[in-house]
């Protein structure tokens, strides 16, 4: 019983890790006022890039680095059309998802079904890992888990307490006033979209080199969309994102737990998506103004216009 509990808790955190990474990225992006619906596609590109590089070089960290670069490069399309060309962000983000899913399929074709020989070992934190229950759950984890938690705290701190964070937030709230302070809104927004892309790609790298250690087309399985929902659930706060991401990690794990009980697998596969709707429903029951969404989220900004 104990072992089952520990293993479930452990897997919950692992399953929640890509969701957390993606959500941090989307929080940063949306705080600057840009809605990026391309997460699913960028995640897929990150996953396939990390897989290919890890497969050929045998170094998963090199794989991660390549994924970050690929994620930033492909996010440029959304940054350019949403910021420079002031295009509709919903459509531009969708286009990025389509492009990302397509390119990842093209890139990954020769690698489908090939297992990764190199495995990213779990990292045991000395001393802490020996604490009963807590140790094995929190301190014998994939390096990506630690990375995600540290980055969530870091992102929260930066957004909340630093000058850059204030610049980002005010860009999302009131770009015109921000510009009058001598801050380059365009540059801030580009920065945030590209950082967001890097986070999505990191989430993908976790999926293909640590979580499942293989590449198949469509392995992101809607996680990119759940990330968009979690961003709202997290009220644009990276620390609250941890709560949402690990809650959903739990739902992913629950699928496998309930399977032996004779519940049809297709029904279980619906659960994360139904849960997403429920979570948003709970959020929607509150006053929409208290949601605290960045005021200018999704609104193109044009310099010198009144």
């Amino acid at each position: 019983m104990e072992e089952i509990f520990i293993s479930v808790a452990q897997r919950t955190l692992v399953a929640g890790t890509p969701l957390l990474l993606g959500t941090i990225g989307e929080v940063i992006c949306e705080r600057a006022g840009i809605l990026n619906l391309g997460v699913e596609g960028v995640m897929a590109v990150g996953a396939v890039t990390a897989f290919i590089v890890t497969f050929t070089t045998g170094n998963p960290w090199l794989g991660l680095a390549a994924a970050l670069i690929a994620g930033i490069l492909i996010s440029m399309t959304h940054a350019f059309s949403a910021i420079t060309l002031q295009a509709n962000q919903v459509v531009s983000g969708l286009a990025l998802t389509m492009l990302g899913l397509g390119i990842s399929g093209l890139m990954g074709k020769p690698y489908v079904g090939k297992p990764l020989a190199i495995k990213l070992d779990d990292l045991s934190i000395p001393l802490l890992a020996d604490i009963p229950y807590v140790g094995p759950i929190f301190f014998q984890q994939s390096p990506y888990f630690y990375l995600a938690v540290i980055l969530a705290l870091l992102a929260w701190f930066v957004l909340q307490y630093t000058r850059v964070g204030i610049m980002i937030r005010s860009t999302g709230e009131n770009p015109r006033a921000t510009e009058t302070q001598g801050i380059n809104v365009t540059r801030i927004r580009y920065f945030c979209v590209l950082v967001g892309g890097a986070f999505s790609a990191m989430a993908g790298a976790h999926l293909s080199t640590s979580y499942s250690k293989s590449w198949i087309e469509g392995m992101t399985a809607g996680r990119g969309w759940i990330v968009i929902a979690l961003t709202i659930f997290a009220l644009w706060n990276p620390v609250r994102a941890m709560l949402g991401a690990f809650l959903f990690g739990g739902i992913f794990v629950l699928q496998y737990l309930l399977q032996p009980l004779g519940i049809p697998p297709n029904f279980l596969a619906m659960m994360p998506y139904i849960a997403t709707l429920l979570v948003l429903l709970l959020g929607g029951l509150r006053d929409a103004r208290k949601l605290n969404a960045p005021a200018m989220l999704g609104e193109p900004y044009r310099r010198g216009e009144r």
Binding site: S81, L85, N88, M98, G222, I228, P264, L280
Partner: protein, 365 residues
């Protein structure tokens, strides 16, 4: 020295719009060629294969028309929703729900009915199925402020699993030797095809009629005016006394309903039984988004853009087989073309002019 000057474009001539669209598509195809080149595929060969496979041969053209049917239906419904800035990404599952409803009615009610009754009945059932599934995100958005992009996408995943659940479980056909398909629809509910093709002409006619009627609704009726106001200036809409709740529900009932009609065509015209979600719809709900966008959200132009993207789907299949490319290739096409289309929009909204000046003049400015 080059100065780029951007000014608002007050008027856009139709000629200018067409030229921009064509240029965007050409630029998009050029970008796709670069991607192909990068993956070691000769782009000229690939583009030629796509053209021959879709429009350049009799077989290809018939297939293109066949696939244009669901794209026209989905696209014109999406054009309506997008006009109201309701981002319905759920046409994929609204189509599937239409297929599910039509199959149930076809299997349970139609065996005793003659074709002239059965066929309208399954179309009605499909419309109701798609409309009900489409109304859910509208309700969620207006009553609970839930972003419709997410809700419609989640409903896509839920519906695909639900459909699979039906065909592997309670609806599994007794005549299908254990395969996860329903039984065949009765003959009275099966749509006729043009000889030598898979073109189920009844649905084609429905699709063309829907496009024309929706175009008239959008441009000529009070409802169409309300749709445009909600999309362009919701503040003004409140003062004009537009009932947002009612109008949005109707928009999504229509948008989902016509996607449901597409599902009826796929089941009753192509497959004749319900099977896996991927085979009932090869991503028509997503491709339909670009179809609507290329048509500039005009349901009438959806007929043309639907044909164009059907050609890309059919041609995409052709190069997948002949060049051994993965199924995702079509997504590369869709994504790239959509990106270039929205980039082209910038040049419709803004006048961009280049001024070549000497250094001296530039300094004087």
């Amino acid at each position: 020295m080059v100065q780029i000057k951007v000014t608002d474009r007050s008027q856009v001539s139709p000629w200018h719009t067409v030229a921009t669209l064509v240029l965007s598509l050409v630029a998009g195809l050029a970008a796709i060629s670069v991607i192909f080149l990068f993956f070691g595929v000769n782009p000229l060969f690939a583009l030629k294969k796509i053209f021959v496979g879709s429009f350049g041969s009799a077989y290809g053209f018939k297939e293109t028309v066949t696939k244009a049917i669901p794209l026209m239906l989905v696209g014109s419904g999406l054009a309506l929703a997008f006009r109201a800035k309701f981002w319905n990404i759920g046409a994929e599952s609204q189509l599937l729900m239409g297929a599910i409803f039509a199959t149930w009615v076809g299997l349970n009610w139609c065996p005793q009915l003659p074709a002239p009754v059965a066929v309208p009945l399954i179309f009605l059932a499909g419309f109701v199925g798609g409309a009900l599934w489409g109304v859910i995100p509208a309700l969620l958005r207006i009553r609970f402020a839930i972003n419709e992009v997410i809700s419609t996408l989640m409903l896509n995943y839920i519906c695909a699993e639900f459909l699979t659940l039906l065909i592997v479980g309670p609806w599994k056909g007794k005549t299908k030797f254990g395969f996860p398909y329903t039984d065949d629809l009765p003959a009275s509910a099966i749509l006729g095809v043009l000889p030598g093709s898979r073109i189920h002409y009844v649905t084609l006619f429905v699709a063309l009629a829907v496009a024309v009627v929706l175009a008239m609704v959008v441009y000529w009726t009070r409802f169409g005016y309300e749709v445009r106001v909600i999309g362009e200036n919701p503040e003004a809409g409140k003062y004009a006394g537009i009932n947002f709740f009612r109008t949005t529900l109707i928009i999504m009932a229509i948008s989902g309903g016509v996607a449901g009609l597409a599902g009826v065509g796929e089941v009753a015209g192509i497959h004749h039984y319900l099977s896996y979600p991927d085979s009932i719809s090869s991503g028509y709900g997503y491709t339909g988004i670009i179809v609507a966008w290329l048509a500039k959200l005009n349901p009438l132009f959806v007929i043309l853009s639907g044909l164009f993207f059907a050609g890309i789907l059919v041609g995409g299949d052709a190069i997948q087989i002949s060049l051994g490319l993965p199924a995702a290739t079509v997504q590369v096409f869709n994504g790239t073309l959509l990106i270039f289309l929205i980039m082209g929009d910038y040049f419709l909204k803004n006048k961009v002019s280049f001024h070549f000046t000497t250094r001296l003049q530039a300094g004087a400015n």
